[in-house]
């Protein structure tokens, strides 16, 4: 079973992930968009770039009412990104199997800290999702699956921390594979499509002379 997970299933997951993400984005772009014929008031390029950058931060007017959400959201995303790209085994993996070059990994204590911040953020966000009337109304099975698969991949990764047992490492790989396979079919896609949605909003707003 380990061989299957590390071999063919891994390849399958990579193919589904890559083809799925590319396909999803292609499908979005193929929906077409009619050209804006109104005379521009500003630049759409500046607008697009600006909005993509600005939406990494909440508007100050909205901070007070969304404080909890903003903090938990940052905790999860920053923690996860740190784990994803700066955990020593991940850097090693990317270097050996994907990119051919590496970068300095974070020290062990930083790894633990990132993991703790990411876990706290993920659990808090999920709890808010099931507790808050608004998110409870919006939430679908997809949102739960995405949260749970992410949690599973993260938790197995941490259990395999010292790679003391190959079995735990295999479990982590399995978690990641499931996440990768599910990814293109779910709103986990926002990790890629946020460029599109922010960009197109920003471009339109930019044309209209609005700082969105």
């Amino acid at each position: 079973m380990s061989d299957f997970i590390l071999g063919p299933f891994w390849n399958f997951a990579v193919i589904v992930f890559t083809a799925g993400v590319v396909g999803r984005i292609a499908m979005i772009l193929m929906c077409g968009l009619s050209k804006d014929l109104a005379a521009a008031r500003g630049s759409s390029v500046t607008g697009a770039v600006g909005t993509v950058a600005r939406r990494f931060f909440p508007r100050k007017e909205t901070v007070k009412s969304n404080r909890f959400h903003i903090i938990a959201g940052y905790m999860f995303h920053i923690g996860l990104l740190a784990l994803l790209f700066f955990a020593a085994p991940h850097v090693q993996f990317l270097k050996n199997h994907l990119l051919g070059f590496g970068w300095p990994a974070m020290p062990h204590w930083a790894f633990i800290l990132s993991a703790e911040i990411a876990f706290a953020g993920l659990i808090l966000l999920w709890l808010r999702r099931v507790m808050h009337p608004v998110t409870r109304l919006l939430t679908r099975l997809d949102d739960h699956l995405a949260a749970w698969l992410t949690f599973f991949a993260m938790v197995t990764g941490c259990l395999a921390l010292f790679e003391s047992f190959a079995g735990l490492r295999v479990l982590h790989i399995l978690g990641v594979e499931l996440l990768m396979i599910y990814f293109p079919f779910s709103n986990l896609m926002h990790a890629f499509t946020f460029f599109l949605s922010r960009g197109t909003t920003g471009a339109r707003a930019g044309r209209h002379g609005v700082k969105a």
Binding site: A38, F185, S197
Partner: protein, 436 residues
């Protein structure tokens, strides 16, 4: 006024579903793909903030459109629909969502400013309304206004006869001619029915200011209405028809500029949507009156004397700030005639709507909701302790006055153009100044 088409909406689910499907462009597809159901847009919507009802969460108002997207454009959505796990779009969706789409959304686009993945939710609601109106699911008053706009040229049924009576009165009052059907004028002036009937001071102010500035302008007796019910109800065909009427008289009168009156959605309709509605660029420059006044003021073509020392604040019409980027212009104008201009805490692109945009003002069954939404405006005004509120949209003004009256507040609402006219340099000898 001759009418070229009629508007007879009927219940037609198939047509609505079909139109809804055709609304999905890559912008919408990317928005739905990015949405993680975080619910942050809720706090940006005054209908949610003031009622606490989660149904008023902006993205939730888009469920019907999202359902179409999910079932037509996503893998699992298609599969679930094919296997009969999820129900396809049905008439019930239109029934259940009509109030969310029309009563609890003013298309103010405040939610579009806060979404972390950048979704322009108001853009999608505007599109969703296309499907709803095609299916015949829209508030009766909006349908009526649209019918009147198409058939009489005015959503309120205001005729040229009524306007010409007003013009005569204004000419007497200002001692200035109001140019009508002047071929070759530089600017075509447009009005909203609400101004003609409720705030004619706008027309006299406009006359006096443009006279001082020496701007050659004209009204058209054929088409004077700037508002566009097609945009509000979400019917591009009607919207295009109404826009074409304006463009026709602009062409006939050989003007090069069109002035949008103090109205938010009229500005959006003519400035931003017109070219897209008729499918080709328009050969006219479109400006909102506030933009024009600012331009004239900065070019030294209009000059004012004195300033009011009354403490006042400015209510940004959503269409100006969030759809047109007109943020600084009204502030420059205000500061030139007011010495104690204070800002509300949330202003400019993050202003709170009056509660009556996007056709909500015409919608009777939404009046309770509208007044609830006004509470946020009330708090903003109470915080500042001002008794004068300036705005640049007749619809905002009407709704603000409604809310102020309902809450028995001591606040006067003034149009910006009017305020500027009030401080205009004294007229040349022989002309009387009767406004202030």
């Amino acid at each position: 006024m001759s009418s070229t088409t009629t508007y007879e909406p009927e219940l037609d689910f198939e047509k609505g579903a079909d139109v809804l499907k055709r609304q999905i462009d890559w912008r919408v597809a990317s928005y739905f793909s990015s949405c993680v159901h975080c619910g942050l847009c809720a706090e940006a919507c005054q209908f949610y903030v003031e009622t606490g009802d989660p149904r008023y969460t902006p993205i939730y108002k888009l469920e019907p459109l999202k359902k179409v997207w999910r079932q037509e454009y996503t893998f699992f959505g298609k599969m679930a629909k094919a296997l009969g796990i999820t129900k396809p779009l049905s008439e019930k969706d239109f029934v259940d969502w009509e109030d969310l789409v029309y009563d609890s959304c003013t298309l103010c686009a405040r939610c579009s400013m806060v979404c972390p993945v950048g979704n322009d939710i108001a853009y999608m609601i505007r599109k969703e309304r296309e499907g709803f109106s095609a299916a015949g699911f829209a508030p009766d008053e909006l349908k009526g206004a649209t019918k009147r706009a198409v058939e009489t040229g005015s959503p309120m049924g205001v005729t040229w006869k009524a306007l010409s009576a007003q013009i005569k009165h204004i000419e007497r009052e200002t001692g200035l001619p109001v140019p009508v059907d002047v071929k070759g004028a530089e600017y075509l002036g447009l009005l909203s029915s609400l101004e003609i009937m409720g705030f004619p001071e706008y027309i006299s102010s406009l006359t006096r200011i443009l006279h001082q500035a020496g701007v050659s302008w004209t009204l058209s007796s054929e088409t004077f209405e700037a508002t566009n019910s097609g945009i509000q109800i979400g019917d591009s065909k009607v919207a295009a028809e109404l826009v074409e009427r304006v463009l026709k008289v602009a062409t006939d009168l050989e003007v090069s500029n069109i002035i949008s009156p103090e109205c938010g959605h009229a500005y959006t309709a003519i400035r931003w949507e017109s070219a897209n509605l008729i499918g080709k660029p328009i050969p006219f420059r479109v400006v909102h009156i506030v933009e024009l006044l600012d331009e004239l003021k900065r070019n030294g073509r209009i000059s004012t004397t004195g300033k009011t020392d009354v403490k006042l604040t400015f209510h940004d019409p959503c269409n100006l700030v969030r759809k047109g980027g007109v943020v600084e212009e009204p502030r420059r104008l205000l500061n030139s005639v007011a010495s104690d201009f204070v800002e509300m805490k949330q202003h400019g692109v993050m202003n709170w709507c009056c509660g009556g945009g996007g056709g909500v003002s015409a919608n009777d069954r939404a009046s309770g909701l509208r007044l609830a939404a006004f509470n946020i405006k009330k708090r903003q005004l109470d915080e500042l302790g001002v008794n004068t509120l300036v705005t640049a949209c007749a619809n905002c003004r009407n709704i603000l006055e409604e809310g102020i009256e309902h809450n028995e507040m001591d606040v006067e609402v003034v149009g910006l153009t009017e305020l500027i006219a009030e401080y205009l340099d004294p007229p040349e000898a022989g002309e009387s100044d009767s406004t202030s």
